[in-house]
């Protein structure tokens, strides 16, 4: 087994596997759970307790750790080109550099804005009703921002390979 196979074969595979889990759960939250919980809250009596008690904490667990795994495996894939990509030092690394920056902003949103506020919303951390309302808004907007950023992020990840370079006029 060569180093290139471990680096570009296994590394890319694990990057994509964890990325599918991360973005898949992000889309579950945004395309399914938000709307489902809104409808469940309107039921008499409200029917969303099972989702917030059993589904959301488990989904958030895999979501936040898949985000870390995706970023770490992405950094591993960039290897010694990490600085070239993030600092846009080489023209060929501009597309993946933009994708890497979008992924990094998204990872920040997961760990700094979404997860701490979700802990308050789900009752894992004590919070007043006012704090919970504020946490709900911040977590919602950060999650929606990540959904928005995921669209260009996946475009740049998918189009950064050598054979797609003519797409950028290269």
């Amino acid at each position: 087994m060569t180093w290139d196979f471990v680096h570009y074969g296994l590394g890319r595979w694990l990057h994509i596997l964890s990325g599918v889990m991360w973005i898949g759960l992000l889309y579950y939250f945004n395309f399914v759970q938000v709307d489902a919980l809104k409808k469940a809250a309107a039921d008499t009596p409200p029917t969303g307790a099972g989702i917030t008690k059993h589904v959301a904490p488990l989904a958030l667990f895999y979501f936040r750790w898949a985000a870390v795994a995706t970023w770490v495996m992405g950094a591993f894939l960039l290897g010694d080109k990490f600085a070239q990509a993030f600092l846009f030092r080489e023209q060929a690394y501009v597309p993946i550099g933009i994708g890497a920056w979008l992924g990094t902003i998204m990872l920040f949103n997961v760990w700094v804005l979404i997860w701490p506020n979700q802990k308050k919303i789900l009752g894992m951390k004590p919070a007043s009703d006012e704090e919970k309302a504020k946490a709900r808004r911040v977590a919602f907007l950060a999650s929606r921002a990540n959904t928005m950023l995921s669209i260009p992020m996946i475009f740049f990840m998918a189009s950064s390979a050598v054979f797609h370079r003519p797409l950028f006029g290269g």
Partner: protein, 32 residues
């Protein structure tokens, strides 16, 4: 003005617009 992120379609359209903007930015950074 309403925040586009409040609606799912607003979020998706914002993402598509951002993709186009960043694509042209990448092209110009690559001299294309």
């Amino acid at each position: 003005m309403k925040n586009p992120l409040d609606s799912l379609w607003g979020t998706v359209i914002s993402g598509l617009v951002l993709t186009v903007v960043l694509y042209y930015l990448a092209r110009s950074m690559m001299g294309g």
